[in-house]
Symmetry: C2
Subunit: 180 residues, 2 copies
């Protein structure tokens, strides 16, 4: 889609010929604007015996704690995206150690790729989307103030060793799809 087409596009929702699903189709040129699931990339970042959490400064779930994670951008890799999010949300420089888990939230058409990571230093501070950031020992994690079910899954899976040498990476707990 050229920039000119972007500016003039006038879409309607219909099933294109040869397809079996409703799509956004430009009335003028027939261009089909496919709508795609979104990829969230993030990490469980460790410094010694503590994990990095960020208290959200924005909705949804403002005030609750989350992992550094967010939507993948065009033309980056999942690993680059996870590092970028750690920087944007917690000014954290991290080294990725491998994949921890792949979660699906089909209600939101979301695929989450969460990495195991090590902080390069314990110097972290809140980025613009975080109210505060902190390094928590397991016993100090604010379990009652976790922002999303998948954050809890990732912390539990990390703690159980998912993705470590010889251990499989994890996916959604059975029957759970990220609803509250």
């Amino acid at each position: 889609m050229s920039e000119t087409a972007d500016r003039q596009a006038s879409f309607e929702r219909r099933v294109p010929e040869g397809d079996d699903r409703s799509r956004l189709v430009c009335r003028d040129c027939g261009y089909i604007a496919y709508e795609n699931p979104r990829v969230v990339v993030g990490s469980v970042c460790r410094w010694e015996d503590r994990v990095l959490l960020c208290r959200r400064a924005i909705n949804p779930r403002r005030g609750f704690w989350t992992l550094p994670a967010g939507y993948m951008e065009l033309n980056e890799t999942t690993a680059e995206g996870a590092k970028r999010e750690a920087w944007e949300e917690a000014r954290a420089k991290i080294e990725l150690l491998g994949l921890l888990s792949v979660y699906n939230i089909p209600r939101l058409s979301q695929v989450q790729l969460i990495y195991r990571a090590a902080l390069v230093s314990p110097d972290v501070e809140a980025g613009p989307e975080s109210a505060e950031v902190g390094l928590f020992e397991w016993t100090a994690v604010p379990w009652d103030e976790i922002a999303f079910p998948s954050v809890r899954w990732a912390l539990d899976h990390y703690r159980a060793g998912a993705g470590e040498a010889g251990q499989k990476i994890e996916s959604n707990p059975p029957g759970e799809w990220g609803d509250y």
Copy 2:
């Protein structure tokens, strides 16, 4: 974005306030149409000592052999998408055995999630996007007529046991990003 908004949207490309990247922004209502990387879901499907390949009936790479794989749809899971693609492209009913690999093709803003799978039966036939389908022993795989680099990666990684019990899942071979 409501259906009415879809039909009237008139987008321009600019950096929204508080952002650091150019986005498609509606001139009328300010709605930001984020563009997202796309998720490809697929599988290496085995029946006894043979793997399933599909000869492409469509471009790109018409006439070359590929795995059953394609773009994930809204509101499905990666596992559901991989099963759907096996059915659409090869009329194959499959059982997923676990994740094999996660590949990144940043030039195309593509993330590929490839599963290890077993065919429920050897009855396969070409779907509308395949010219023919076949079950190949390793020595019979048409290596010179493989459609995409990531298909070769997946076959190699499958053969090496990636994702099996105690073995890690794979990602891009070092320095390879899916270019020819």
